[in-house]
C-alpha cells in the first residue's frame, strides 16, 4: 500500500494489512446497534456454555441412545458451508473462473470464520476441554476423529493465512495459486474425513455407506455457494462490496449444477434402502422413521425445499433475477441445515440393538450455545466487513501472469 494510504486517518497497519479502524468510528448507530445485539447473543451463548461446565451434562438433551446432538449437526453444517466458498475461490485460480475473483476475499473470510464456529461448537460439547492435549500426546491412528479434528484446525488456519496472502498480496499471483493448490484438496480432505466420522461405523447401518462422502461434498459445496451468494448480496446492499450481476448469474449456474447433483445422490441413497434386492430390515425400518415416522417433519422439507430451490434456479430465463437467486439460496441453506440434523438422527433413531430412541430436540443450553456461536460468526463477518479490505482491487482482475513474483503491490482502485 502506498504511503498516502497509511497516512489516512483510521488506517492502522498490522501484520501487513491495513485495518480500517476509522470506518468503525464513522459507522452509524444502526451498525452499532446490530453489533450490540449480536454481542448480547454471543454473551448469552457464553453464559450457556459456562452453565454446561458447572452443571454438567444433565443440562444437555443428549442421552444414552442419542449420543451426539445439536453441536454435531452444526459442526457438519458449518464445515460444509465453509467448503463452498473455498471451492468458488479455488475455481478462480485453478479453473480460471475469473468472474468469481471479486468474491475471493469474502469467500475465504467466510470459510475461516465458519470453520472456527464449527470447532468451537465441538469444544463446547467437551465438558473437560483441557483433556484434548491427549490428542497430541497419544493420538490413535485408527481413529477418524484424529484426522477430522486436525483437518478442521489446519483448514481454519489455512483459510486465515490465505486471507492474509490475498489481502497483502505477498508473493503475488504465484503464491495465491499455490495456496489454492493446497487449500482445495485440503477442503476436500476435510469433508471426506467429516463424512468418514459417520461412514466408517459398521454399528450404524444407515451411515455405513460409501456414498456418504460424495453426499457430504455436494451438500457442502451447494450450501456453501448458496450462503456465499446471500452474504455477497448483503455486502452489496450495505455498500461494502460491489459485484457485477453477471457474477451472481454465474454463481447461480454453479449452484444449480451442484444442487441437482446433491439431490440426485440423495435419491440414490433412498433407492438403495428400499429396492427389493438390496433392502434390509435394518435399513428400511430406520429410514421409514424419516419418511413417515417422527422425523418426517424435518426430512421431507429437505426434499421439498431442495427441490424447490433447484426448480427456482433451473429456468435460465429467470436465473438472473436477484430475488430468485436469494430465495433459492436461502431455501437450500435451510434445507441443508435440516439435512444435517436428519443425517445425524439417522444414526441414532433406532439403536444398534433395535431399540427406538425418542427423537432428540436440543435443550435450552444447547440451543443458546449454538445461537451464540452463530452470532459470533456473524459478529466476525460484520466487523470484518468494516475493518478488512474485502474489495478486490480492479488491477488484480487483470493481473497477468507476467507480473514478477513478489512485485510491488497492486494499486488500490479506490
Amino acid at each position: 500500500m502506498t504511503d498516502a494510504k497509511t497516512s489516512q486517518p483510521g488506517i492502522k497497519r498490522f501484520i501487513g494489512i491495513d485495518w480500517n479502524i476509522g470506518a468503525l468510528k464513522t459507522a452509524g448507530s444502526r451498525y452499532w446497534a446490530f453489533v450490540t445485539a449480536v454481542s448480547i447473543l454471543v454473551l448469552v451463548g457464553v453464559l450457556a456454555w459456562v452453565m454446561v461446565l458447572t452443571e454438567g451434562g444433565a443440562v444437555m438433551a443428549q442421552r444414552d441412545g442419542f449420543t451426539w446432538g445439536f453441536w454435531f449437526s452444526n459442526y457438519m453444517f458449518y464445515v460444509g458451508l465453509a467448503a463452498g466458498g473455498l471451492v468458488v475461490y479455488a475455481s478462480v485460480h485453478l479453473f480460471g473462473a475469473e468472474q468469481f475473483k471479486p468474491l475471493s476475499r469474502l469467500a475465504v473470510l467466510l470459510a475461516g470464520v465458519l470453520t472456527m464456529a464449527a470447532l468451537l461448537g465441538d469444544l463446547t460439547d467437551l465438558v473437560r476441554v483441557w483433556r484434548i492435549y491427549w490428542f497430541v500426546v497419544t493420538p490413535n491412528p485408527t481413529a477418524i476423529f484424529v484426522y477430522t479434528g486436525s483437518a478442521a484446525g489446519i483448514y481454519m488456519l489455512l483459510c486465515f493465512v490465505d486471507l492474509w496472502v490475498l489481502i497483502t498480496g505477498k508473493g503475488g499471483e504465484k503464491l495465491a495459486f499455490t495456496m489454492t493448490l493446497i487449500a482445495l484438496p485440503f477442503a476436500i480432505y476435510l469433508h471426506t474425513t467429516t463424512a468418514f466420522v459417520l461412514a466408517l461405523n459398521k454399528s450404524r447401518e444407515l451411515w455405513n455407506s460409501a456414498v456418504m462422502v460424495p453426499i457430504f461434498l455436494t451438500s457442502a459445496v451447494a450450501s456453501g455457494v448458496a450462503l456465499l451468494l446471500i452474504v455477497a448480496y448483503i455486502m452489496q446492499r450495505f455498500n461494502v462490496l460491489k459485484f457485477k450481476s453477471s457474477m451472481f448469474r454465474s454463481l447461480s449456474t454453479l449452484l444449480a449444477t451442484v444442487m441437482i447433483l446433491d439431490l440426485f445422490l440423495l435419491i440414490v441413497e433412498i433407492a438403495f434402502v428400499y429396492w427389493p434386492t438390496s433392502a434390509k430390515a435394518g435399513h428400511t425400518l430406520r429410514f421409514t422413521e424419516f419418511l413417515t415416522g417422527p422425523y418426517a417433519w424435518i426430512f421431507l422439507p429437505v426434499l421439498i425445499l431442495g427441490g424447490t430451490a433447484f426448480a427456482l434456479l433451473s429456468r435460465r430465463k429467470t436465473r438472473h433475477i436477484p430475488a430468485v437467486q436469494i430465495t433459492a439460496s436461502a431455501l437450500y441453506v435451510v434445507a441443508i441445515f435440516f439435512k444435517r440434523y436428519t443425517l445425524m438422527s439417522m444414526g441414532f433413531a433406532i439403536g444398534p440393538l433395535g431399540q427406538t430412541q425418542a427423537p432428540y430436540l436440543p435443550s435450552l443450553a444447547e440451543g443458546l450455545i449454538a445461537l451464540g456461536l452463530l452470532s459470533l460468526g456473524v459478529l466476525f463477518v460484520t466487523l470484518g466487513a468494516k475493518v478488512l479490505p474485502l474489495e478486490v482491487p480492479e488491477d488484480e482482475h487483470h493481473a497477468a501472469h507476467t507480473l514478477p513474483a513478489g512485485a510491488a503491490e497492486p494499486e488500490v482502485a479506490q
Binding site: 454438567g56 451434562g57 444433565a58 444437555m60 443428549q62 442421552r63 444414552d64 449420543t67 451426539w68 460439547d125 467437551l126 465438558v127 473437560r128 483433556r131 484434548i132 491427549w134 490428542f135 500426546v137 497419544t138 493420538p139 490413535n140 485408527t142 481413529a143 477418524i144 476423529f145 484424529v146 479434528g149 466420522v197 461405523n201 459398521k202 454399528s203 450404524r204 430390515a281 435394518g282 425400518l285 444414526g347 433406532i350 439403536g351 444398534p352 440393538l353 433395535g354 431399540q355
Partner: protein
C-alpha cells in the same frame, strides 16, 4: 492373395523358403531345446512338492488327536486373535493392584436357560457402582421372538419375564477381539488388556463419545450426570466420582475376576445360564461348551470377534 501366388511361393519339400533362415532342422532343434528347458524346470518342482501324505508321514499323538485337532485349533485361534490392543504397558489405574494374568476370559450364555429375570442386571449395578440415577445398566436383556435373532423386533423394556413364547438374550460388552471402540478412540483412552478385557481410563477420556457410536452392541453407556451411589452400597474397588462425563461398560468384573472370583452376573444368575472362564483352561466350562455345543455370536457379520457366545 490368390492361391496360385501362394503355390508359387511355396518352397520345395525339405528346404526353407527363400530369404528365411529357418529350416526344418532348426525348427526341430528349437523344439528339443524347449523340451529340455521345460524338463529342467519340472524336475525341481517335482522335487520340492510336498508329498501327498505328508500329514500321515509325520506321526501324530494317537488317532484321537486327529478327531479333536479341529476343536483345539479353533479355540487356540480364538485365543491367538484375542491380543491386547493399544495397551499402554500397564494396567488401567483402578486395576493396578491386580494386573492381567495369563488367562483369556470368555463368557457363554445359555439362552435356553435364561428366563429374563434381570437378576444379573441388578447384581451388576450393585457390584460396579453404576449410578442409581444414571439411567443405564451394563447388561441389557432383550426379549426376542423365536425363530431367529431379529434385533429389530427385540423388546428391551418387557414387564413380564419368563414368557414361553419368547426367548431372552442378555447383551453387554463383548470384550471383542477386534473392538471398534478401541480402534475409534482418538486418544487411546480405552484399550484391550492382555487378558482380553477392554477397559476405559476415566482420567484420560475426553468424553467425545466416538466409542459409543462405533460399538455395534450399544454396550457403552455415558455418564451424563454425576453417578450417585448410596454410601453403604459402594464397592471400594470400583471408581465412582471420576466416571462423570465418561463412558463406562462391563469389564467382566475386573476387580473380581483377577482375584480368583467369578463375575457378579454369573454368580447372580439363579438358573446357571451364564458361564465365565478362561479359554486357556481346557476344562473350564466355557471351553467345554464351545467344544461340545453349537455356540454362536451376536452380529458375527460385523467381524468384531466378540468373546461372549450364546448356546441353546
Amino acid at each position: 492373395m490368390s492361391e496360385d501366388k501362394l503355390r508359387d511361393e511355396r518352397p520345395e519339400n525339405g528346404t526353407a523358403p527363400e530369404g528365411t533362415t529357418y529350416s526344418r532342422r532348426s525348427f526341430l532343434q528349437g523344439i528339443g531345446v524347449a523340451a529340455g528347458v521345460v524338463a529342467a524346470g519340472v524336475i525341481p518342482a517335482v522335487l520340492t512338492a510336498p508329498p501327498a501324505s505328508a500329514e500321515e508321514a509325520t506321526p501324530t499323538a494317537g488317532a484321537a488327536a486327529s478327531a479333536t485337532d479341529g476343536e483345539e485349533d479353533f479355540i487356540a485361534s480364538i485365543i491367538a486373535d484375542d491380543k491386547p490392543l493399544n495397551y499402554p504397558g500397564r494396567p488401567v489405574y483402578y486395576a493396578k493392584d491386580f494386573p492381567a494374568g495369563k488367562q483369556k476370559w470368555a463368557m457363554v450364555i445359555d439362552t435356553k436357560a435364561c428366563v429374563g429375570c434381570r437378576k444379573c442386571v441388578y447384581a451388576c449395578v450393585k457390584e460396579n457402582n453404576i449410578g442409581r440415577n444414571s439411567g443405564f445398566t451394563f447388561i441389557q436383556v432383550l426379549e426376542m421372538e423365536p425363530g431367529g435373532v431379529d434385533l429389530e423386533s427385540a423388546v428391551l423394556d418387557y414387564k413380564e419375564a419368563g414368557r414361553p413364547d419368547k426367548w431372552y438374550m442378555p447383551v453387554q460388552c463383548m470384550q471383542c477381539a477386534n473392538p471398534p471402540c478401541v480402534n475409534g478412540c482418538p486418544v487411546k483412552a480405552t484399550w484391550k488388556e492382555p487378558d482380553g478385557i477392554v477397559v476405559i481410563d476415566y482420567d484420560k477420556c475426553i468424553g467425545c463419545r466416538n466409542c459409543m457410536i462405533t460399538c455395534p452392541y450399544g454396550a457403552r453407556h455415558f455418564n451424563w450426570v454425576h453417578p450417585q451411589v448410596p454410601a453403604d452400597e459402594r464397592n471400594p474397588l470400583v471408581p465412582v466420582e471420576e466416571k462423570a462425563w465418561t463412558p463406562e461398560k462391563c469389564t467382566f468384573c475386573i476387580q473380581r475376576t483377577r482375584n480368583g472370583k467369578t463375575t457378579a452376573c454369573v454368580e447372580a444368575c439363579p438358573v446357571g445360564a451364564r458361564k465365565f472362564g478362561d479359554l486357556n483352561d481346557e476344562n473350564s466350562e466355557v471351553a467345554i461348551l464351545l467344544k461340545t455345543r453349537h455356540a454362536w455370536r451376536l452380529k458375527e457379520e460385523d467381524s468384531t470377534e466378540p468373546m461372549i457366545w450364546y448356546v441353546g
